[in-house]
């Protein structure tokens, strides 16, 4: 039987799920903010690549660099305007603030682009080995996700700014006492989280058609991955994404695809009960 084809497809999409979740878990882990604008930002990343490709002819993978920079700046702007004032307020306030950003982005994007599906017309061909056929765009997206994870890991563990982010994540008050500029670090964290979401959206756009509402699916998966992999840990997010992708790929081999969300969310509840810090999260 050709379970290998199911497994490979699942793992390849799992890398992208992991990247999409990384931004959400970073913001959640460092700032204790659940970013409900995560999905629309993924959709903005998709549109960023689509518009630079269709309007200016820029290659989608080069457009990703622009999308990353724009995502970082946009995230810092959103933090300054909507999040910074409620960062110390009860969780519900930041939840409502990000929900408002979510509604604003979806409203403006629907007015501008409608919900017509868009498609970045790029093909890198496919490679068939026995029963397994892998698409070039999916392989590039998986490699891109791995490189981004590596870069984020190095940034968090090998740079001063990264150490500041981890310090603020562990204990903001103590970090402030040590002279860490926490406001700036929080803005940077939100910017990086947004950047990761936008880049993942850009990568997804190279192989799936999308609309302004497409980010919602990845936002939901990102919550599951956040619980699976633990918060604020890029390796954990990537591993969580791979687990989710693998489940989505392999379950249909054994049973109806209708059972995929059932099994996923049963796993979600089990992890919450047995290991609430996630598979890769440290004990609180």
């Amino acid at each position: 039987m050709d379970i290998l084809a199911f497994l490979v497809d699942g793992l390849l999409i799992g890398f992208v799920y992991g990247l999409a979740a990384m931004g959400l878990t970073l913001i959640w882990g460092v700032m204790n903010v659940i970013n409900l604008a995560h999905g629309p930002i993924i959709a903005l990343g998709m549109f960023g690549v689509y518009l630079t490709f269709s309007s200016f002819g820029l290659h989608p993978y080069l457009a990703l660099i622009l999308v990353a920079v724009a995502g970082l700046l946009f995230g810092m702007l959103v933090y300054g305007v909507a999040i910074s004032r409620v960062i110390d307020a009860p969780h519900l306030s930041s939840l409502l603030a990000t929900f408002a950003v979510n509604m604003i982005i979806i409203g403006l994007a629907t007015a501008q682009f409608s919900t017509t599906p868009r498609n970045v017309d790029i093909s890198l061909g496919s490679l068939s080995i026995g029963p397994v056929t892998v698409l070039g765009t999916r392989v590039v997206a998986a490699v891109g996700a791995m490189l981004t994870t590596g870069a984020l890991y190095l940034f968090l563990y090998r740079t001063r700014q990264g150490r500041y982010i981890r310090a603020v994540s562990n204990n903001r008050s103590a970090a402030e006492l040590m002279g860490v500029p926490s406001s700036r670090i929080l803005a940077l964290s939100f910017g990086i989280g947004t950047m990761l979401a936008a880049v993942s959206g850009g990568l997804i756009a190279t192989f799936f058609p999308f609309t302004v509402l497409s980010g919602g699916t990845y936002e939901l998966k990102s919550f599951v991955i956040g619980v699976l992999g633990g918060l604020g840990n890029p390796i954990g997010a990537l591993a969580g994404g791979l687990v989710l992708g693998m489940l989505e790929g392999v379950i249909p081999f054994f049973t109806s695809t209708a059972f995929v969300p059932v099994i996923e969310f049963v796993l979600f509840v089990v992890i919450l009960l047995v290991r609430p810090q996630g598979l890769f999260g440290a004990k609180q």
């Binding site: 050709d2 919900t115 017509t116 609309t211 497409s214 699916t217 695809t257």
Partner: protein
């Protein structure tokens, strides 16, 4: 402190005056469009002109935005044409004009429930047109029946809506049970040796109804259904499905759902290079933007409620021994293109036919009385630019469309993709591209 309060008071008064100056004289309404005042049948000065209010919701936002917008464009085109021509003159000399009252339903069932109740009660709409999609229409039909309003449904093909004992809901689309069965007839006519088919479909109401009916029909014709499975509406990654299809080795794939999942499925099917001879999927292929898929669109077949190529006109109706009503396909296409600058899809034609049928019923009834219009709709049996229109009047299936049939299109010509009608044979504009390139 006192000075501070005075300043605040001054700003408040200034603000109130400014807001007052900016507010239009008309009372504010939450409606996102339409110019009807919700006054029901208005008898104007001469007592010979009545204005009929048509109520409906449109998915200005949400996932049905594209199809719904086109549907409303079609309906508006009909209304503007009738009003610009001076309205409908009834046998007793009364002139009937139309106005509309509509809201954005956000593609949401909850909003439809709330808004149709509002249209029927507060806005006092005289007649209702359905929203787009079977799910939303099913919700609105309950309310139409509850408040005794005649509703013409369009963009909604599920059979089950008309099997609930309703008496005032009338369907313009070919119902789901006959939506894809013609594709099997086409396949049988093209290659009788093909016997293995896979049916994969979106799990919403409409697509499930279509696929279940298709499955039953396939089994009755002796086909072997090697895979019958549904996918969630938000599915973007069809890789697990395509692997399953590959495992079951069908000759033909049928099913699908709506535009987004259908076009995604077609694209990934092409990329996976699956060895199948025939693919027919719902909704997406007839849309002009399906051609943006490029080579992935080539050879894909889709059922369409209406196509400009299928030319229904007075001469064709006369040849069939039936009455023709309204404008021809060519006239509708030209008027729509002039108004909106794009070719009409079948959603747009569906919007127009809903209005045209209401017009025909009012003319036949000679009145805008709901009972008389309902009786006139029961008796409709006519060819229009949209095709044959006739409703089931049995208590079990009242309002179900029994006259209209689907046409099947296929994208052909790899150098410059173009739609061709390939079924039914008598209306075909080209031979079927078979097997799939």
């Amino acid at each position: 402190m006192k000075k501070y309060r005075s300043t605040l008071f001054f700003i408040f008064v200034l603000f109130t005056l400014l807001v007052g100056a900016c507010t239009p004289a008309e009372p504010a309404t939450e409606a996102v469009g339409g110019d009807g005042g919700g006054s029901g049948v208005e008898t104007e000065e001469t007592m010979e002109e009545v204005t009929v209010t048509i109520g409906f919701t449109a998915s200005t936002t949400g996932k049905y935005n594209v199809e719904s917008t086109r549907q409303i464009n079609g309906l508006r085109l009909w209304m503007n044409q009738v009003n610009d021509a001076g309205g409908i003159t009834l046998a007793d000399g009364t002139v009937v004009k139309f106005t509309d009252k509509f809201y954005d339903d956000e593609s949401s069932t909850e909003r439809v429930q709330e808004l149709y109740t509002r249209l029927a009660t507060e806005d006092k709409a005289d007649f209702l047109i359905s929203p787009y999609s079977s799910g939303l229409t099913d919700t609105s039909a309950v309310i139409a029946e509850q408040y005794g309003k005649v509703m013409i449904t369009t963009g909604a093909a599920s059979d089950s809506t008309y099997q609930k004992g309703y008496t005032r809901v009338f369907q313009t689309y070919t119902p789901a049970s006959r939506y894809l069965t013609g594709a099997l007839d086409l396949l049988a006519a093209t290659d009788p040796d093909v016997k293995r088919i896979a049916i994969v479909h979106e799990t919403d109401k409409f697509s499930t109804d279509v696929s279940t009916a298709l499955n039953d029909y396939a089994l009755s014709l002796g086909y072997e259904v090697v895979l019958f499975e549904g996918y969630a509406s938000e599915t973007t990654d069809f890789a697990p499905f395509l692997n399953k299809i590959q495992e079951s080795a069908p000759d033909a794939i049928m099913g699908g759902g709506h535009f987004q999942d259908g076009s995604t499925f077609a694209k990934q099917l092409f990329e996976k290079e699956l060895d199948v001879k025939f693919v027919a999927i719902l909704v997406a292929p007839p849309e002009p933007t399906f051609a943006e898929l490029g080579d992935a669109a080539l050879g894909i077949i889709g059922p369409s409620q209406w196509e400009p190529l299928a030319d229904f006109n007075a001469a064709a109706a006369e040849a069939a021994g039936m009455a023709f009503y309204g404008l021809s396909s060519a006239e509708f296409t030209a008027a729509y293109e002039a108004e909106y600058g794009e070719s009409p899809s079948y959603h747009a034609a569906g919007g127009y036919i809903a209005g045209l049928l209401l017009q025909k019923a009012i003319e036949d009834a000679g009145s805008v009385d709901p009972d008389a219009v309902k009786a006139a709709l029961d008796a409709v049996d006519v060819i229009t630019f949209f095709g044959h229109m006739k409703f089931d009047t049995s208590p079990e299936n009242h309002g179900l469309q029994i006259g209209h049939s689907m046409v099947y299109i296929q994208w052909q010509n790899p150098d410059a993709l173009e739609k061709q009608v390939v079924w039914p044979a008598e209306g075909a504009s080209a031979e079927t591209l078979f097997p799939l390139p």
